[in-house]
């Protein structure tokens, strides 16, 4: 089954300049571990939430708003897509993600077409 690990963290606590240091090293190591286990099916890091634009179409009118859809304490900052046998395997990988110790990881099964 495929799962998305959605990484939420407090951007204020991790300014962009610091992301190049230990933090990135931890993510590189984690990504390598996912590859070595043969479970990585995708993933990326996002620019910080102030770069986001939110679009909705209401009554045929396109509205664009500055900022992310939800203004939350911790922001959606990146994701991995894993292909693992079951939820327990996905939860175990989520717990190892560097983001789990700094924010929270939401684990969602992907829709099966």
């Amino acid at each position: 089954m495929k799962y998305m690990l959605i990484i939420y963290r407090d951007e204020a606590a991790f300014p962009d300049s610091r992301m190049a240091g230990d933090h990135s090293a931890a993510y590189i190591a984690y990504t390598e571990a996912l590859k070595a286990a043969g479970v990585l099916a995708g993933g990326d890091r996002l620019q910080s939430s102030h770069t986001a634009s939110t679009v909705r179409v209401e009554g045929g009118e396109t509205q664009v708003l500055d900022g992310p859809y939800a203004d939350t304490k911790e922001q959606f900052g990146g994701f991995y897509i894993l292909d693992v046998p079951d939820l327990d395997a996905a939860l175990k990988w989520a717990a190892k993600c560097p983001g789990a110790a700094q924010g929270a990881i939401e684990v969602r099964p992907m829709w099966v077409m």
């Binding site: 089954m1 799962y3 046998p85 079951d86 939820l87 327990d88 996905a90 939860l91 099964p109 099966v112």
Partner: protein
């Protein structure tokens, strides 16, 4: 004669129901193990289960109850798969289940996946309050209305929660597997907690007037026995079973002839079920041989210390205090602290008990907990502080839902008057 026939008829019904229940849970677990589609398995078995409850009391229990149920279920699965075919992926599940149902011959050697099913139902990804209800339904085949009555929620609400939880197991991919060694303690604890929650719902009906609620305590004991049988080396599974048996042994003594509530220290031990107490003691002894103590074993030991009244001995209060110390260290529960303070009141007097209660005063977790206010009132009364005792009783009475318990608390409060200034 009529009575005899009727009694035989109800015994046959009870036996049929027991066997049907046992087979039902095994078959739900078996059919859903690969697809994780509990709702689909239940759908397939519901007609078979109803047919068994209707026919077996008259025709006798078949030699292979599981084979009988599977034969009926297979027809239903084939129909369901055909019906779903064009619409969604459920058809694949149902066809797979139909194949599996057809692969086991007379059904006498199907694997027992009930424990795996229980671990899935009590998975941390499932909302905690619904876990016990989910186990009762999937393993025992109880309907949502029966479970709802004991959980004091509307049947529709309970039905919805159960449907959502089953969908989560299927869609989120919660596997029917045994937890690995690292996860086992926490995962087993979740299963035991769910079973105990079902038991307390059945047991916390002190008047025993609601048949459906008291029935739930028996069902929970049945589940506890099942877990203990399937995991004989887990002392906490044995501890929980011993605890439930100790409590259940007192059922007949928990109300008087008029249906009034009788607290533990005023119960007539002669009314306690001695055979059930001995069974609980044997099980607890077996658990203690593993040398791994835990919350349920300690709670069972507390009940055991009270149970010796059945055999003419007084409770060993200093030992009870030690047991509560150990429980407090494990659980850090304010309720345990409360019970410990009541024991201290017995060993060192009401003032000492009240002093131990003081740190708990103002604990938000106890503010709405009736037994806390009743206990506080009791100790204040014994310390000759009737006015404070009276207001604590008022608080307890206001928090209690059960009329029998309210009447008991009122009589205690009104008894204070003699000592009032």
């Amino acid at each position: 004669m009529g009575d005899v026939t009727q009694a035989a008829g109800s015994a046959a019904r009870a036996a049929a129901e027991r066997v049907a229940r046992q087979s039902y849970g095994k078959l739900v677990a078996f059919l859903a193990a690969r697809t994780r589609d509990i709702a689909g398995a239940e759908d397939a078995l519901s007609e078979a289960f109803a047919a068994a409850l209707a026919q077996w009391p008259g025709s006798g229990i078949p030699a292979s109850p599981e084979g009988w149920l599977l034969t009926v279920a297979r027809r239903r699965l084939t129909d369901l798969a055909r019906h779903h075919k064009a619409r969604d992926g459920a058809a694949d599940h149902l066809s797979l289940m139909a194949q599996e149902a057809g692969s086991v011959g007379d059904g006498s050697d199907i694997p027992d996946d009930r424990l795996r099913l229980m671990f899935a139902c009590a998975h941390p990804a499932i909302d905690r309050p619904v876990r016990g209800a989910l186990i009762l339904q999937t393993v025992l085949g109880l309907d949502a209305a029966t479970i709802a009555a004991s959980a004091l929620v509307p049947p529709a609400t309970m039905g919805q929660r159960l449907v959502r939880a089953k969908a989560k197991i299927r869609q989120a991919g919660i596997a029917f597997t045994m937890p690995d060694r690292v996860d086992m303690p926490a995962r087993l604890d979740a299963v035991l907690e769910a079973v105990y929650a079902a038991f307390t719902q059945g047991w916390s009906d002190p008047t025993g007037m609601d048949q459906r609620r008291s029935g739930l305590a028996e069902e929970a004991i049945w589940l506890g026995r099942l877990v203990a049988t399937l995991l004989p080396d887990e002392p906490e599974a044995l501890g929980l079973l011993a605890l439930m048996l100790h409590l259940e042994a007192r059922r007949a003594a928990r109300r008087d002839a008029g249906g009034g509530y009788v607290p533990l220290d005023r119960q007539d031990p002669a009314l306690w079920d001695a055979a059930m107490i001995r069974q609980a003691e044997d099980i607890l002894l077996g658990a203690s041989h593993t040398g791994r103590i835990g919350r349920y074993q300690l709670e069972a030991a507390v009940q055991s210390a009270h149970a010796i009244r059945r055999f003419g001995h007084a409770p060993d209060w200093p030992m009870l205090e030690q047991l509560y110390d150990a429980l407090l260290a494990i659980t850090r529960s304010p309720v345990v602290g409360l019970n410990r303070a009541m024991v201290v009141a017995r060993t060192r007097g009401p003032e000492a008990g009240l002093a131990d209660l003081e740190p708990l005063h103002g604990d938000a977790r106890l503010a709405g907990y009736q037994p806390y206010w009743a206990a506080r009132a009791e100790l204040l009364g014994r310390c000759a502080r009737p006015d404070e005792a009276r207001s604590a009783y008022d608080r307890a009475i206001a928090l209690e839902d059960d009329a029998g318990v309210r009447a008991f608390l009122r009589s205690r409060r009104d008894g204070l008057d003699g000592g009032a200034a």
